[in-house]
Symmetry: D3
Subunit: 247 residues, 6 copies
C-alpha cells in the first residue's frame, strides 16, 4: 500500500488513506424508471435512473445495435452555494458535458450492444447532494440501474441473452497533503495536488483514467500509488454493487 | 360537501372525494441549503430548497426590499415516460415557466419584502417523482423551506423581525367522472373534466385560483363545490406544515 | 350586481364598475391570412390572424384529428416603455408562453377536432398597442379569426360540417380600490388588489378562470362578485362577436 | 426615361414602369412611441415606431454622442404563407439581421450624433402586411418616425438644435421582363432578373445601393437606367414625407 | 481611369489608385476537401474549401437540382484585436450572416444547378488573417475551390457536363480621401467615405453591387468611377483565377 | 522500449512504434496576435494564437492574478467529411468544450499567475487540417504561442519577471493492434483499443493523463508501456519547442 507507514496523515473525515466513505446503493428509489438507484458515497448522493426506449440515435438506425448514453445534472442547491440552473441558463456547461460523456463511455464498456438490440438505455444521473466524487458515484450507481433495466427487459422477454458483461465502477484518488488517498470528499478535493478519476471493470482492467495535476505535476511513482489505491477501492465498490443486486 | 350523497364515486386510489393523499413533509432533507424540504403528496415527491443570497435583482437594487423567487424542474424520469432534459434542449418549456412563476407569486404573498431586506430567497422545486399535483406539492413544501431559511437568517441575527406573515399552501381539485374531488393524482388528472389549482393562506383567503375546463365547461355551482373542497384541503395542509415546523 | 350601491367608485376612465371599454372587431384587417381580425378593447389593439396548414404536430399524426394553437407577441413599443424584442433576445419570456398557452386552450374548447380533420389552425395574436387586457382581447378576437378561417375551409369545400360549437370570449375583472370592476385598463391593472382573467362560452360555462391576489388575498364573496361581473361582460362580448360575424 | 418607348411592358399591377405604388404615411398610428408611423407602399404596410432612450450602447458611453439603430420583424402571417415566428425559433434570421442593419445605417446617414447627445433612438419596423419592398417602405417610414421623435425631444427642450440634416428615403428598382421598373411589388419581385434597393437623401446623393442579379448579370447601361428610375422615385417619396410631416 | 490626373493621392500602402494588392491563389491547401484554396489579397488570407454532399436542402428535394451555399467565419484573432468566437457566443452575428449569404448568391450565379444534380456544394470561407476585403477575397477564392470540386466530380464521373459557366470574382472599391481607389486594405477601409463591394462575371456583367456611404453620400459620377475601377480589377482577378486553375 | 521485440508491427504510416510524426512549429504565422504558431504533427495542422487582454474574468478581479484560457475549434472541412460549423449550430459540442478545458488547464500548469498580473492570455487553437492528435498538437503549439506573448509583454516592459516556468507539451499514445505506439494518426486512432492523451512538463512530471479503453480494458503493464512511450515522445517535443523558440 502506497500510504503504508505514513503515520502523520490526517484526512478531514478521519478516514485512513485507503478508506472509502460509507457507500449505500438503494434500488427502486423512484418507481417509474426501469432502473432507479440512489447511490451515496458519504454525503454525496446521486439519483441514477435507467430509461429504456425502443429507438436508437440516427447514426445507428438499422444496424441492429443498441445504445447506452448518459445525462448528468446537479440540482442548483446540491452544492454549498447555489449554482445557476442549467435549464434556465439555456445550456449545459463544459463540466456537465464532460462528465456525462464519461459516464456514457464507462457504461458502454460493459455492454454488448448487438445483444441489446435496437434500443437505447439512458442513464440520468442527478446529484441531489454533492460532497466530492459525484461522477464516480454516478458511474457506480448507474451500473446498478442499468442492470435493473436489463433485468426488466429480460423479465418481459424482450431480450433473451444478457448484454451486460462484467461490472463497472469508479472512484477518485488523489494526493492530499503529500499522501495518496482514496475517494476524496469535497474538503480534500478542493485542497489536493493531484486528482484522478478511475473507472475499472471487475477483471481489474482500466476503462478510463483521468488524472489532473492541480498543483505540482505528479511523478510515475505517485501514479502507481494512485492506481493501486483505485484498484482496491473499486474492488470494494464492485462488491457493494453485487450485494445490492443480490437483494 | 359537494360530493355528499354520491355513493357511486370510485377514485382509482380508493380515496373519498374530500380525502387528501398521504402528505409527508421532511425538513433538512439535504444539508447545504438554508431550507431543504422533501414534500410528498402520495407518490408525488418534490425536493424544495431555499437558498439565501445577499443580492436582489436589478429592478430592486437600492430600494431596501428583498425578493422571493422560484425555479421548478422535473427530473427527466420523474414521469412515466422519460422527458427530455430541459438543460439539454437549451430552454425551459412553457409549462415549467408557468409553474415557477406561480410558485414565486404564491410565496411572495406571505412575505413582507421590506422586512426581508435586500436579499433574495430562491426556492428550487425539483420533482423527483411525479404522480399529479407537483405544483401544489411544490408550493406547500416550499413554504416550509422558506420558513426554515428565514429562521436561519434570524438565528444568525441577519434579520430581527420575521418577514413571513401567515402560511400558504396549495392543492388541486377537479371534477372526476362528474364528482368534485380533492387532490387529484395522475390517474384522475389525465381523465378529468375540470382541473383547478388553488393557493390559499391560513386566513382562508385566495391567493391564486387557476381553473381549466379540460372537457365540458364548468358551471358556477361546480366552481363553488371545488373551492369548498380546496378550502378544507388547504386547512389540512396548513396543519401539516405547522406540525412539521414544530418538530 | 356586486357594485350596486357603491356610489364612491371612480375609475380612471370614468367608466362604471360593470362597463366594458369600447370594443371594436374589424374583420379582414390584413389580406393574406385565412382569418384576420383587429380587435380593440379601448386603447388595447391586437391583430389576430388565423392560418390554416394541412399538417398536424407529430403527436397527432395519423389520428384523424386537427389542432388549434396560438402564438402571442407584443411589438416592442406597444407599451409605455420599449420592451426588448423577444426575437432579438433569443427566447420568448414566461409571460408570453403562459399567454399563448392560455389562448390555445381557450379556443380548442370550442372546436371539434375530429371534424376539423388533419389540419392545424394557428392563431397569431400580436399586440400593436397595449393598455391592459391584451390576453382577453386576443382570445375574443382570435375566436372571430378562427371562425373566418373555418368559413374559408367550408367555402373551398375542404370540410363539410362546421367544427366550431358555440362561442368563446374572455374578459378581465378585478378589485380596484375595494370595488369589483370589469375590463381593467392599464391604469387599473397596475393598481389593483386582485386581477382575474375569465374565459367563458356562450352557454355561460367557464373555460378558464385565473385569479391572482396582487395585494391582500380575496374572499369567497369577492370571487362571487368578480365571476358575476365577468359573466355579464362576456355575454356582451359574445354579442359583439356575433355582430361582427354577421356583417 | 429608361423605359421610354417600351410599349409592350405590362406590369401585373397595371402601373407604368416609372410609377410608384400608392404611398401613404400615417403619423401617430400608435400612442406610446415618441414617433409612430404606418407607412404603406400599396399593399405593403409597415409600422415604424421611434423610441427614445437616455442611454447609449457600451461602445459609445461617455463620448457625448448618440446612437440611432433599427430592428425589423415580420408578423408571422404578414406573408402569403405563414412564416415561423422568430421569437419562437429563438433567433433572427440572416435576412432580418441584414435588413435591420441596412435601416440603421440609412437613418444614421442623416443624423448628427453629437447634436443628438447621449441617447439612443430605436426604430422598430414591423411588417403588418407584405407585398414586396418592405425594407424600402420601412426606411421611408422610419425617417418620419425619427423626425417625430426628435421633435418630441425638442418640444421637451431636451435638445436645442435639430440633429437631423436632410431627408432619407428608399425604393426598389428592378428589371422585370427586360424592362427597368420602379417599386417592385411581390409579383414582380419574385419574377425579376435584377433587384436593386436604393437609399438616397434629398440632395440626390446615394447612401446605399444594393443590386443583385437574380437571373442574368446586369450591364452598365441597365445599372444606369435603374439608378435613374430610383432617383425619380425617391424624389417623389421625399415629397410624400414632407407632406406628411407638414400636416 | 477615374483617378487619372490625381497626383496628390497617397495610399497608406503606396499603391496607385487602380492597383490591386498582391493576389495569390494556392490550390490544394488542405487535403480533405474536394476543393481547398488559400487566397491572399495582400495581408488578407482566407481559406476556402468546397465540400460535396450528395444531399440537397429540404426545399429542393426531388427537384433534380443541386445547391451551392457558403459559410463564413473569422478566426478570433484574425483581426487586430481579438473578437469573441461566434461558436462560444452561441450565434453568428449579422455581419457574418450577411457575408455568407452574399458569397452563396455570388457563386450560384455561375452554376447551372440542373447540371449539378441533387447534390450540395458548401463553400467554407474562413479568414485566417484580415486586412480588409475579406468577403471579396472569399468570393474570388471560393470560385476556384468550387471549380476544383466540380472537376473532382467529373473525374469520378459523377457528373458529365460542367455545371459552371463563366467565372465570378469580387473586389472592393471606395473613395479614400476624395479619390476612387481599388481593393481597399484595412487602413483605407476604416477611413473612407464610400465603400463598395462588387461581384462580376467574366462577361463584364454585374452580379452584386453593394455600396455604402460611410461619410457623405456619393454622387452619380463617383458611382461611375467606382464601377469602372471594379471592372478593371475584376478582369485582373479573373485572369489570376485562370492562371491558378491552369497550373 | 515497450515495443521492443515486436517485429510484426505495421503502422499504416510505416513509422516504428516509438516514432513521432514529423513535427513542425512555425512562429509568426499570422501577424496580429501577440503569439501565432502553426504547429504540424504530420498532416494535423493547428493554428495557435495567443491574445493578451488587460482584463481578467470576474472571479479574479482585484486579486492581482492573471488568467490563461483556451478556445478550440475545427474548421468545418478540416476533417474527412464536413462537420457542421459550431457557430451555425449555435453551440460548441461536448468534445470541443472538453478539449478547450484541457488545453487551458495544461498551460496554466506552467504559469505563475501572480507574476502575469491582472491580464488574460487566450490561446485560440483552430484546426486547419485534422489527422488525429489535434488536442496534443494544440497544447504543444499553444505553449510556444504563449511564450511569444509573454516575450511581447516583456519587450514592452509590461511585466518584468517571466511568469512561465518550465515547458509543457502533449502527445497521444495508444495500443494499436496489440502494440503500444506513440502519436496516433487518424488511421490508428479510429482502429485502436486504448487511446491516451498525456500532458507533461520538462521535469518529467505528469500534468494530465487521460486514458480511454475503446475496445478491451487495459492492464497495468499496458499503462506502464504507454506512459513510457509518452515520456520519450514529450521529451522530443519539448526539444522541438526549444529549437523553435531559439530561432
Amino acid at each position: 500500500m502506497a500510504a503504508a507507514g505514513t503515520p502523520a496523515i490526517s484526512r478531514p473525515s478521519g478516514r485512513t488513506p485507503e478508506q472509502l466513505r460509507e457507500v449505500r446503493i438503494e434500488r427502486g428509489y423512484t418507481r417509474h424508471a426501469e432502473g432507479s438507484v440512489l447511490v451515496s458515497f458519504g454525503d454525496t448522493r446521486v439519483l441514477c435512473t435507467a430509461s429504456v426506449d425502443n429507438k436508437v440515435p440516427a447514426f445507428l438506425r438499422g444496424k441492429g445495435e443498441g445504445w447506452v448514453t448518459a445525462e448528468y445534472g446537479m440540482l442548483p442547491r446540491s452544492t454549498n452555494t447555489r449554482n445557476d440552473r442549467e435549464a434556465a441558463r439555456g445550456k449545459q456547461g463544459g463540466r456537465t458535458l464532460e462528465i456525462q460523456r464519461l459516464i456514457g463511455r464507462a457504461l458502454r464498456a460493459c455492454v454488448d450492444r448487438k445483444l441489446l438490440g435496437e434500443r437505447t438505455i439512458t442513464l440520468d444521473c442527478d446529484v441531489l447532494q454533492a460532497d466530492g466524487g459525484t461522477r464516480t458515484a454516478a458511474i457506480t450507481g448507474a451500473y446498478v440501474a442499468l442492470v435493473d433495466a436489463v433485468r426488466w427487459l429480460q423479465a418481459r422477454k424482450e431480450i433473451s441473452r444478457d448484454p451486460i458483461f462484467g461490472a463497472v465502477a469508479a472512484v477518485s484518488v488523489g494526493i492530499y497533503r503529500g499522501v495518496p488517498v482514496l475517494d476524496l470528499d469535497y474538503a480534500e478535493d478542493s485542497d489536493c495536488d493531484t486528482d484522478m478519476n478511475v473507472v475499472m471493470n471487475d477483471g481489474g482492467g482500466f476503462i478510463e483514467l483521468q488524472g489532473t495535476a492541480e498543483g505540482h505535476a505528479f511523478r510515475r511513482d505517485e501514479l502507481d500509488a494512485l492506481t493501486g489505491l483505485a484498484e482496491a477501492g473499486i474492488a470494494e465498490l464492485i462488491a457493494k454493487q453485487r450485494e445490492a443486486l443480490a437483494r
